[in-house]
Subunit: 438 residues, 2 copies
C-alpha cells in the first residue's frame, strides 16, 4: 500500500530459462526497477538466470547473472522463481525445489500445468507459497486472474477461447485469401508464426493444454490435458471456409469448456476443434495471431478478453504482473488464492455435449437428393436448421447446419449418410458455436 | 487456499442500498452460499440491507434484513460493507464510518470515487481495510483488477474505453438505421436504456467519472472528474455518422486516458468525446449497450476487455467478486493493494494532446474551394490525410481527416475556415482515434 520501502529488504528474483521471454523479463525487471519497487513496496533484485547453454548470447541479461546451475541458483535464498524454460522436466523438479526452499513460483509452462498442475498446487500449499501462471494461457491477456478472482462470486457456464495464435493466423489467411491449408502453413512458417514442426499447434496439443487450465479455473474442478477432446485444423479445407462464409460464418479453432447439467448429469466437457462461429460474434473479429477468450457467466453475462497470445514482450508482461503479485504477498506475509477444486465436477465424455453441426456433402446432381438426405437426418433424431444446394453436375454439394444434437446422434446420422448412393462423399463435418441457444 | 472452513467464523456482510443491484447481490449471496464459502474459506452471512424506504418491496431480500438505519447496521460488527446506494452523500459518510469500524468496503459508486477517491483510499489505509470498486467501471467486465494487478509489471500507454451503455446504444442505432439523435434517444428511453433525464449519460458525466477512475489506475497518479475534458453526444448528427461510414469509420463515445511524453512534457490527458474509430478496430464491433475497454501497454501490446456495462446481475457479479476478495483478505488477515499514485504525473490540459480530426464543412459549389480550404489548413500547420467532396449545389460538402495536430492548431484552423466566404458552415468536428500512429 505504501510507496516507501526503505525498511523493506530487496526481494530476490531468479529466472529459470532466458530465451525470448526470459530475456525480456530480465530486461523489464532491470529497466523498470523504480516502478516495480513502488508497486511492490520493496525493491526487486534479479539474482540470476539459469540456462542450459551459457555460451549463447543473451541480450539484455547481464553476463554475470548467467549460470548453468539452476539448483545452486535456487539455493541462494530466492523469494520468487520465474520458470520460463518450458517442458515437463527438469521444469517440474526445479519448481518443486524452489517451492520447497520457500520461493513463490511464476510460470508460463502450460504443458506442465495441464499435465501435473495438482503436484505444483499441492507443493505450493504445503510450503505456503504462491503459484501464479497468467502467462500460460493467452500470453499477455489478463485472463486467469479475472477467472480466479473477479468472477469468484459468479458461476461460469461456458468458456470459448481462441488460444493458439499460429492456427488463428492460418485460419485467418485461409479466410481472407481463399488459400489452401498447406500453402498458408508454409507462409506462416516463413514468417515465423509456425514452427518447422507445427504439430503442437496445428494438431491442437497447445490449445488443449490451455483448455485444461481454463476449464479447471472456470469450474473449480481438476482437469488435465488427457481430459480434453482434441481435433486439429489440418483437415480444414478451402471448401469448408467458403461454405462457412456463404452461411455467414468463419472457422476458428476453439477451446470450449462448458458445464453440462441435464437430468442426472452434472459435469464439464472440454474440447478443442475447428468450429463455425457466426461473423457477428465477437470471436469472429479476432484475426491473425491475436487470442481471445469469451466467457459466459450466470450473472456477468458475456465477457471477452482480447490481446496478444504470444511473443516475448507480451508474455513477459503477464509474467511480471505475477511477479509483482507474488512479491507483494511476500511483503505482506500472505499468499494468494490456491487451487480451487471444491466442486469436484466430473469431466464428461464428448458424447454428453450437445452441439450444432455443419455438414458438407458431395452429392449426385439429381432430383430428390435433398429429400433423401433430410429423411436420414430426421431418422437420426437430428433437426436441420439450414440447408443449401451448391454447384451442379460433379460439383454438386449439399451444405447443412443442424440444430443441437449429441455426438451419438451425429455418428448415427453420418453412418446413414455414408450408406446413401446419392451422397458420394462427406467432405466436411464441423461443430458450430456462438449462436443463440435454440 | 483451503476449502475447509469449519473453524472459521462467518464473515458478516452488510448492504447499503437494495435497488436493482443490491437486491441481486443479496439474492446471489443467499443462493450461492456454498460456493462462496468454498471460495472464501469462510461462510458469508448477510446481516442486513439499509434502505431509505422500508415499505418498498425488495424481491429477493428477506424482509427481516431490511432496515432504514445504516449506522446501526454498520455498528453491528460487520466485516464487509457493500455500498450500492450511489450519490455522494450519505454514501461517503457511511463508507467512512464502515471503514472506521474495521469493515472493508466494496462499492460501485463511480461518482464518489471520481470526486473524492482520495479520502476513501486514505481512510482504508488508516484503518487497514480494503476498498474495492470493480463494479464502478464497465459493470461486469473484470477490468480494474487486471489494471491494478495483472498489468502491475507493465507500462500503460493509453486506454480507450466505451464505458457508457446508453450512449453506445444510441450511436449504434444511429449507425444502423441512419436515424437522427433525438429519435433514437426517444427509442432508448422507451426501451429503458436511457433515463427520462438523460443528461448524465448523453452529456458524458457518467463516462467522465469512469475515465477518471481508469486513468488513476492506469497511470498511478491522482485523477478526479474535474481533470477530465468532457463532450457529450448531443451534437452528433446523422450527417456525421454517414460521413464517417463513407470513410470506413464508426462514431463512438470514447473515454481516452493517455500518457503524453514530448520534450519536457510528461503527464496524462484524460478526455471523453465522440470519436471516429476505424471499422476494423476491435472497439468498432462493440455494439448496443455493451462496454469495452482497449488498453495499449508497453510490453503487453493491445488488450481489450468486453462485456456488459450495466444491469443488476452483471453489476452484482463484479460486486460479489470484490466481496470474495475482501472476505478472503479478512480470513488471511491481510489487505489487497491500496491507492497507487507514486508516479505523481500531472494531468495536462487538453491542448497538450495531439489527435487527428474529422471536419465536415458545408461549402459553396464552385471551383477552387478545395484549394482555398487546403491553404487555410496548411497555414495552421495541420496536414490533411484524406479529403472528399460530397454533394452539389446547396448540399456541397467537403469532408476531411487531418494528420495529428494539437488543439491549438485545430482552433486556429477553425478560425481560419470560419473566415472563408466559401465555407458556409462547419457542421462537424470530431477527433479520430484507433488508427496506426503516423
Amino acid at each position: 500500500m505504501s510507496t516507501v520501502s526503505e525498511n523493506q529488504r530487496p526481494l530476490r528474483v531468479a529466472l529459470l530459462g532466458a530465451g525470448t521471454v526470459g530475456a525480456e523479463v530480465a530486461r523489464l525487471l532491470l529497466e523498470q526497477s523504480d516502478d516495480l519497487e513502488a508497486r511492490v513496496g520493496a525493491p526487486l533484485e534479479l539474482v540470476g538466470a539459469a540456462v542450459r547453454d551459457v555460451t549463447k548470447p543473451r541480450p539484455g541479461v547481464p553476463a554475470e547473472l548467467i549460470t548453468n546451475d539452476p539448483i545452486g541458483l535456487i539455493g541462494k535464498g530466492v523469494d520468487v522463481v520465474v520458470e520460463v524454460m518450458g517442458g515437463i522436466e527438469p521444469a517440474r523438479s526445479l519448481i518443486i525445489a524452489a517451492m520447497e526452499s520457500g520461493a513463490s513460483v511464476v510460470t508460463a509452462n502450460k504443458a506442465l500445468l495441464a499435465e501435473d498442475g495438482a503436484t505444483l498446487y499441492a507443493t505450493a500449499e504445503k510450503n505456503q507459497v504462491d503459484l501464479y501462471f497468467e502467462a500460460s494461457v493467452a500470453g499477455a491477456i489478463p485472463l486467469l486472474r479475472p477467472l480466479r478472482e473477479s468472477l469468484a462470486g459468479d458461476q461460469v457456464k461456458r468458456v470459448l477461447g481462441i488460444v493458439n495464435g499460429t492456427t488463428n493466423f492460418i485460419l485467418t489467411k485461409m479466410d481472407e485469401d481463399g488459400a489452401a491449408y498447406a500453402d498458408v502453413l508454409a507462409q506462416a512458417q516463413a514468417l515465423g508464426y509456425a514452427e518447422a514442426d507445427p504439430t503442437a499447434d496445428v494438431e491442437a496439443f497447445d490449445a488443449a493444454a490451455k483448455a485444461a487450465i481454463l476449464a479447471q479455473l472456470a469450474f473449480h474442478t481438476r482437469v488435465t490435458i488427457s481430459d480434453v477432446h482434441r481435433e486439429g485444423i489440418t483437415r480444414v479445407t478451402a471448401v469448408d471456409i467458403e461454405a462457412a462464409r456463404e452461411m455467414g460464418f468463419v472457422i476458428k479453432l476453439l477451446a470450449v469448456a462448458e458445464r453440462i447439467t441435464e437430468g442426472d448429469v452434472d459435469g464439464v466437457v472440454v474440447r478443442v476443434h475447428p468450429t463455425l462461429v457466426p461473423r457477428s460474434h465477437p470471436l469472429a473479429s479476432v484475426r491473425d495471431a491475436f487470442n481471445a477468450v469469451f466467457v459466459e457467466a450466470e450473472a456477468a453475462g458475456e465477457l471477452m478478453f482480447y490481446g496478444r497470445g504470444a511473443g516475448g514482450a507480451p508474455t513477459a508482461s503477464a509474467v511480471l504482473g505475477d511477479v509483482v503479485a507474488a512479491a507483494r504477498n511476500k511483503v505482506s506475509g500472505t499468499t494468494g488464492p490456491g487451487e480451487s477444486i471444491y466442486t469436484g465436477l466430473p469431466v464428461l465424455s464428448l458424447e454428453q455435449a450437445r452441439t450444432r453441426y455443419y455438414l458438407n456433402l458431395e452429392v449426385l446432381d439429381r432430383p430428390g437428393v435433398l429429400a433423401t438426405v433430410a429423411r436420414v437426418v430426421a431418422d437420426s433424431d437430428v433437426s436441420i436448421q439450414v440447408v443449401r444446394q451448391d454447384g451442379t453436375g460433379n460439383d454438386a454439394h449439399l451444405v447443412l447446419r443442424t440444430h443441437a444434437a449429441t455426438e451419438g446422434q451425429l455418428s448415427n446420422m453420418l453412418d446413414g449418410l455414408r450408406a446413401l448412393d446419392v451422397v458420394t462423399d462427406i467432405v466436411g463435418v464441423m461443430r458450430v458455436e456462438g449462436e443463440a441457444t435454440p
